[in-house]
Amino acid sequence: MFRRALPAGLLSLVIALALVPYMWPQPALRQSLTELGSTLLAYAAVVGFLSFLEAHFHRVGARAEGWPYSLVTALTALAFLLLSLAEGGLRGNGLAGPWTGWLYQYGLLPLEASVGALLPFFMVLALWRLLRIRRSAYVLFFIAGVLTTLVLHSGGTLLPTLFGSFYETFLSPLATGGIRGILIGVAIGVVVMMMRAFLWIDRPLGR
């Protein structure tokens, strides 16, 4: 009984503590909660990294489908960690340094940008597939989606100039209103979920 009630009780206590600064501004409490969260995050990052290595080396050991990808992923992560530790140890300022910064700037960020550049094509492709399945009803959505993609993702061309005013006049107000409505719904969902966890109706930490 006590073992089951303890996680739910702790969760209720944390929810109550997290809400206090909103009702009664207390910088010290907010600071303590932030520090507690940072400590938990640091611990979780170490355990998470070990779990990450365990998962990928397990796949390599079991020769699961795609195991060479897992091998490359795990070895790259280990090499990056060793580099960060070496740099941090030499310079005495944590895990950051010029080499890791260089790898971020010229390795990771361009890769992410390349993947991000593919998104508009996949979006238009997905809309096109939907249009082929349900031809009549979704023509307007397809046109709106393509126009939005062109306006938002074609910097340096004439397209934003050609379609920009149409987008600002017709599509943007509809989209903004819709997003606000959804966000109010999300706020409702968050509060209901919080109340259910607080009152022990939901027990996300186990029953």
Binding site: G48, G66, I184, I188, M195
Partner: protein, 242 residues
């Protein structure tokens, strides 16, 4: 202080709506993704192909915690059902705390079924630390590991379109519950019936008392109407005063 007062108002509205919703006998609107969920889990158990759940790029510390926990409700259901048939789901996360949470839920479900020893360590993946890296990691998993169903619920933005595309390409059945408007917009072409906004919070874990999910959905709707009435009255008050 204003946020605190609004929060208090929201909490009071929630309690009122939950109380009112239990008295209403009308069945709530049906959410297509959650209606399909049990059948897809059953199909995964029959075929032996594991389901996949993407918990999004959010964590459990910070503003996005509730969005991640909305996927956590699906994870509880998935873990319990899958542990019975020993077809363990793949769970992908982008945050270390979410990783610990997902492992805990899976291990807890397996422990209750007495199959903890057979849970492979590669069932919870830290697919990437940033949203774009996470989406790329998802494509790697779905490309190399055949899954029967790919469920996405949690914090996703436009990058979700990559995971939707790769899931569709490899023939996985797709189920989406997207609280975030960006993710919902990106995944809408793959499934126009996806759960959007507060609907994404309405998944119910296995073992919950039947009827409760109805009360939950009705509570969401009632709060929405109460809030609309409140906003209309305030706006009318200001208009008349001005």
């Amino acid at each position: 202080m204003i946020i605190g007062a609004l929060l208090l108002l929201f909490v009071l509205l929630t309690l009122l709506a939950v109380r009112m919703a239990r008295r209403i006998q009308n069945p709530p609107r049906e959410l297509e993704p959650f209606r399909r969920l049990p059948r897809q889990i059953g199909q995964a158990l029959e075929t032996g192909q594991p389901p996949h759940l993407a918990l999004g790029s959010g964590g459990l510390i910070g503003n996005e915690a509730a969005l991640t926990l909305s996927g956590g409700r699906i994870l509880e259901r998935l873990a319990q059902d899958s542990a019975v048939g020993e077809v363990f789901p793949f769970v992908t996360v982008a945050d270390p705390v979410a990783l610990l949470y997902a492992r805990h839920v899976l291990q807890d479900a397996c422990h209750r079924q007495g199959v903890l020893a057979s849970l492979p360590p590669d069932r919870v993946w830290w697919a990437g630390a940033s949203p774009m890296a996470y989406a790329a990691g998802l494509t790697l998993l779905l490309g190399t590991q055949p899954v029967a169903t790919s469920i996405m619920s949690g914090l996703f933005r436009e990058e979700a379109v990559l995971a939707g595309e790769i899931g569709q390409r490899y023939g996985a059945h797709l189920i989406f519950a997207m609280p975030e408007p960006g993710g919902a917009a990106a995944l809408w072409p793959f499934d126009p019936n996806l759960a959007v906004g507060e609907e994404a919070f309405a998944a119910f874990p296995q073992g919950e008392i039947p009827g409760r999910p109805s009360a939950l959905l009705l509570a969401h709707d009632l709060i929405r109407w109460l809030l609309i009435a409140f906003l209309a009255i305030v706006a009318l008050g200001f208009a008349l005063r001005g």
